[in-house]
């Protein structure tokens, strides 16, 4: 059965209205200001220690993201970006329900597709704008503080970081959107998505090694390590951190390197000079599965949201 007319008729109208709502929403403004302020503070205080190694470090600029104090900027991003994404999305659909605007809007000549796509695009756009602003601020501060311009390689790597962070934010926004469709109550949707966020970013890294140990035979050290890693990778935060660790540090050759180093095991590679930088393309290739995993997770969540929304009754 073919539908009449375009499924996306009205998409732009919905997206523009949602973007306007986001930028005037107090909650969103507070979250964005908070995240940006924290990031600026972290980078500002991180610049001095980084300055010490100006002479020997060829990738000084990237250290802005990975070696700021008291904690690295990227760790901050992996923790706080989901919070902003959830703040944008947790009341996207059930909010319309509760305000009783949903049936009135859907009685206009548009399909439900336009409403959902519009909301998703608006959320993603808002998050992208926020991340670009943050990114430019960090680089600007870096220029001022370090006094040397970044080279092309560094800019390219920082750009990859930006794209991956947008995808990561999209994942959490899609999750919040799904919760806002499944749960009629705004509070339930908010608590469930925040609960998942805490579980995945804080509890899962603690529990997954225990689970991995339980399912693999003792004594097989490498086997246990691999299972641990496989379990940990179920968390999007772990995927994001792995991507970031490789992309922002040209000397990292494997996502297992830091983990093995932590255990005192050296990664042995034929003919490789330890710590020699590898090109960006190689770095990206190493974490390509993780990037694809994040994108796929986002798409899966959005498709789930789409299916549930299409089948949902509009009556209150």
């Amino acid at each position: 059965m073919r539908r009449e007319g375009s499924a996306l008729h009205g998409f732009g109208v919905v997206a523009l209205k949602e973007i306007a709502d986001h930028f005037t929403s107090i909650l969103v403004v507070v979250l964005v200001v908070l995240v940006t302020a924290i990031a600026i503070v972290v980078v500002y205080f991180g610049i001095d220690p980084i300055k010490q190694s100006i002479a020997e470090d060829p990738f000084l600029f990237l250290r802005l993201f990975t070696r700021s104090s008291p904690l690295p900027l990227v760790a901050l991003l992996s923790f706080l970006v989901p919070l902003v994404a959830i703040g944008l999305g947790f009341d996207a659909v059930n909010g319309e329900h509760n305000r009783r605007t949903l049936s009135r809007i859907l009685a206009q000549p548009i399909y439900r597709d336009a409403l959902l796509f519009g909301k998703f695009a608006a959320g993603l756009f808002t998050l992208t704008v926020m991340l670009i602003v943050l990114w430019l601020l960090v680089i600007g501060l870096g220029l001022l503080g370090l006094g040397i311009p970044p080279n092309a390689e560094e800019m390219a790597r920082a750009l990859v970081l930006l794209v991956v962070t947008v995808v990561y934010a999209g994942f959490w926004f899609a999750l919040a959107l799904l919760c806002s469709i499944v749960f009629r109550s705004v509070a339930t949707a908010a608590l469930v998505s925040l609960g998942l966020w805490l579980f995945v970013t804080i509890l899962w890294p603690v529990f997954s090694p225990v689970l991995a140990n339980a399912v693999t035979s003792a004594g097989d050290l490498l086997g246990v390590l691999e299972t641990q890693q496989a379990f940990a990778r179920l968390s999007p935060a772990v995927l994001f951190n792995e991507v970031v660790a490789v992309v922002l540090d040209p000397s990292v050759r494997s996502t297992q390197q830091s983990m093995l180093a932590g255990l005192g095991l050296a990664l042995i590679e034929r003919g490789a000079i330890p710590d020699a930088p590898i090109p960006l393309v190689q770095s990206v290739l190493i974490v390509w599965p993780q990037i694809v995993g994040l994108v796929a997770g986002t798409i899966l969540l959005f498709v789930a949201a789409y299916i549930v929304f299409q089948r949902q009754e509009v009556r209150a």
């Binding site: 059965m1 539908r3 009449e4 007319g5 008729h9 009205g10 109208v13 919905v14 209205k17 709502d21 005037t24 305000r99 009783r100 605007t101 049936s103 009135r104 809007i105 859907l106 009685a107 206009q108 000549p109 548009i110 399909y111 009754e313 509009v314 009556r315 209150a316």
Partner: protein, 315 residues
């Protein structure tokens, strides 16, 4: 097209095998105000949502302006205005901004959009508060804003779900006037309500819903005849001899009862006031007062459900 803007044949809606609307059929003619009446949960809103293509039809057929709401929902929604039960607006936007958003969704160009928003807000008496946030609006103002949206859409059919529920008498009267105004513009109106007496005054025809079925359908006097057996109660106050016999002989009068000194209560199947007056005058009597009480929906409704209660529970 045969003059009917809505044709519904045997539509059924089942949730998990339970029929909420069960084989409902009716039609609405162009320019008519048709009322769907019944208690809450009788299936009125579900029927409306099916007509708008917002809810799937489990069985049966519906045609709205000769379009199938399931297959061509956009064509239907382009020409049908809908005012949901307890309509909501975006509180952070002004009345005009709310209309601007829906006008964009309707696909109006910028120039005609502003013109339409202005005139439609004027029609419902909200021109002065066009730039006020909707959060400050009363319930009645929100309902009127909903009607402004339908006016702006230039819809051929207005579907109103419980438009008067929760409104004070003045707001209800204002709203009913706007609904009558819609009819004068040639808009067909389908409205649902559980408030019978208020709806009676605007509806041309009504359908009484009961547990997912239409129990009765027709004009209010027709239903009165059907259910109350007659329905018009005419009261005659006159002085004279042998009036009761003369009046009882008028065609259409079913019963004559004495209602006190010089007073007669007639039960008739239509308004027999002219004939009764003529009869009194012909008998040489003095006509003091003549009044008619039209059958009330309330009475029809109560009587119908009293007499059919047993059957409904058995069914």
């Amino acid at each position: 097209m045969n003059g009917n803007v809505i044709e519904v044949k045997n539509i059924t809606k089942r949730y998990d095998g339970v029929a909420v609307v069960n084989g409902v059929s009716f039609s609405v003619a162009r320019g008519e105000i048709f009322g769907l009446l019944g208690p809450n949960g009788a299936g009125k809103t579900t029927t409306i949502l099916m007509l708008l293509g917002l809810s799937e039809i489990s069985a049966g057929q519906a045609r709205v302006l000769d379009h199938d709401p399931v297959r061509e929902p956009l064509a239907v929604k382009r020409q049908v205005g809908y005012l949901p039960d307890q309509v909501g607006f975006y509180d952070n936007l002004t009345a005009a901004e709310n209309l601007r958003y829906t006008a964009r969704l309707m696909g109006f160009e910028r120039a005609e959009r502003e013109q339409k928003i202005k005139t439609s807000l004027g029609h419902v008496g909200l021109a002065e508060v066009a730039d006020k946030h909707v959060s400050t609006f009363s319930r009645g103002m929100r309902q009127r804003l909903g009607l402004a949206e339908i006016l702006m859409k230039e819809a051929q059919i207005a579907i109103l779900d419980e438009p008067t529920s929760g409104l004070d008498p003045q707001a209800t009267a204002d709203l009913l006037n706007i609904i009558r105004d819609l009819k004068h513009r040639g808009v067909s109106v389908l409205l649902s309500s559980h408030l019978l007496e208020r709806v009676q005054s605007v509806c041309d025809r009504v359908a009484l819903f009961s547990q997912g079925n239409i129990a009765l359908i027709g004009t209010v006097p027709e239903l009165g005849r059907q259910v109350l057996g007659g329905g018009f109660r005419v009261e005659v106050e006159a002085e004279g001899q042998g009036l009761a016999e003369r009046i009882a002989a008028i065609p259409g009068v079913q019963r004559v009862e004495p209602g006190g000194p010089n007073r007669l209560l007639l039960l008739a199947d239509h308004d027999v006031r002219p004939e009764a007056a003529a009869a009194v005058v012909a008998a040489g009597g003095r006509l003091l007062r003549l009044s008619v009480e039209e059958p009330s929906l309330e009475a029809i409704y109560t009587r119908y459900f009293q007499t059919h209660e047993g059957e409904l529970h058995a069914a």
